[in-house]
């Protein structure tokens, strides 16, 4: 039984959250998000004044992103326990999670490109900045599918001792729906649906964070339950 490997993967999720927050939030200072309504010069000034911090922060952020891969993998393993021999939903979760890593890796690389030559034309810096923010906040689709398939798999758990409690299915589908408003940021420069807005950024961001916090103890419990049931056999 590979309980230790599974626990390691689960803890990778926690490491992801912590390192991502340190790099992106506390070092590079992308929270609170800058307004999409800023002028090119204002955007360029952010990169000129924080060049070193952004570069350092993005190294950490980029590294942390891949830690979400083991996290998704161990959830997929637990879903496979539910699904048995033909785990379509677990595979869907794996593929979506792999794409999710790309979505988390690319924006830091683009942000750091903007900070690579901060003296360049402010218009170009703004272009990179726009690209990174849009890529980061708007790309909800892989995460939407992640949560949706977890929900569907948990619904399908007919066992006497289910891997996850049934409310987890509803919770994940709720989270999936809440990530959708991010898709609207392409239409707005200000207001609640802009990339710094309460409904398009803060709400999905808080929910995505909260999802880790809720799923982590449940995941540990599921792994331990698997351990116990394999011992008793």
């Amino acid at each position: 039984m590979n309980i230790k490997a599974q626990l390691f993967c689960a803890w990778c999720g926690v490491a992801f959250l912590i390192l991502f927050s340190i790099g992106w939030w506390f070092i590079a200072g992308y929270i609170p998000p800058m307004s999409p309504a800023l002028s090119a010069n204002e955007v360029a000034a952010f990169y000129q004044q924080n060049t070193g911090l952004i570069r350092l922060g993005m190294v950490i952020t980029m590294f942390s992103a891949a830690l979400s891969a083991p996290w998704v993998a161990v959830i997929a393993v637990q879903l496979k326990r539910i699904e048995g021999e033909f785990p379509a939903l677990a595979y869907a979760l794996l593929v979506a999670g792999a794409v999710g890593v790309v979505v988390l890796v690319v924006p830091p690389m683009v942000w750091t490109t903007a900070a690579f030559r901060p003296e360049r034309d402010p218009e170009l810096i703004m272009l990179l900045n726009d690209f990174a923010w849009l890529f980061f906040v708007m790309t909800f689709s892989p995460f939407f599918i992640q949560n949706l398939v977890i929900g569907l798999a948990v619904f399908g758990d007919k066992s006497e001792t289910p891997v996850f409690p049934r409310w987890v299915a509803y919770f994940n589908i709720w989270v999936a729906i809440l990530l959708i408003p991010g898709g609207l940021i392409t239409f707005f420069k200000t207001g609640p649906f802009a990339w710094d807005g309460i409904l398009a950024f803060w709400l999905p961001f808080a929910v995505f964070f909260g999802w880790f916090v809720v799923m982590f103890p449940l995941l540990l419990k599921a792994i331990k339950q698997q351990d116990l049931s394999s011992e008793s056999q």
């Binding site: 409690p165 049934r166 409310w167 987890v168 299915a169 509803y170 919770f171 589908i173 709720w174 729906i177 809440l178 959708i180 408003p181 609207l184 239409f187 707005f188 207001g191 609640p192 649906f193 309460i198 409904l199 709400l203």
Partner: protein, 190 residues
Amino acid sequence: MPGEVGIWVFILGDMVIFGLFFIVFVYYRGLDLELYLQSQATLNQNYGAINTLFLLASSWFVAMAVDDMRSKTTRLAPRFLVLAMLCGLGFTVVKIIEYREKFMAGITLTTNDFYMYYYIFTGLHFLHVLIGMGVLVFLWLKARAAVQRKGDLPIGDSEKGMMLIESGASYWHMVDLLWIVLFPLLYLMK
């Protein structure tokens, strides 16, 4: 409490989010009241009112269906559910006509802030309605199977089956409730 625990996690979660939407709307509305009132005046209140009736009737039919299925002599539940689905379909048709009219008049998501909220809130609610139609089809299949088995609910033991049916019905009532707040907020509030 009817239904399973999980559906209430979902319903309360969803209502918290819509509650947040409404607070944001009322806040920004207060900052530019004139624009909001002007734009509101161009909405067709009749469509809103008809849709309110559709959803209220639909909720009532679903409640009747659940009641019928509880009685263990289920007979009419599938018919009530068909009526509920027809009401949902009516809502869908009116909504599409309404969106079309707005689009033809050149009003889109980015016309102004009021229409931004109008499209996004009613759009998300519409998404809930479409999901709900799927739920109603599911309930209808279960109800039909129950009638064929002379009242015995088809899923596992009947208590568990009833739980699922109540969960679906509770979701549909939430869709109704959200609209009942959305309608006055967007169409009527002065």
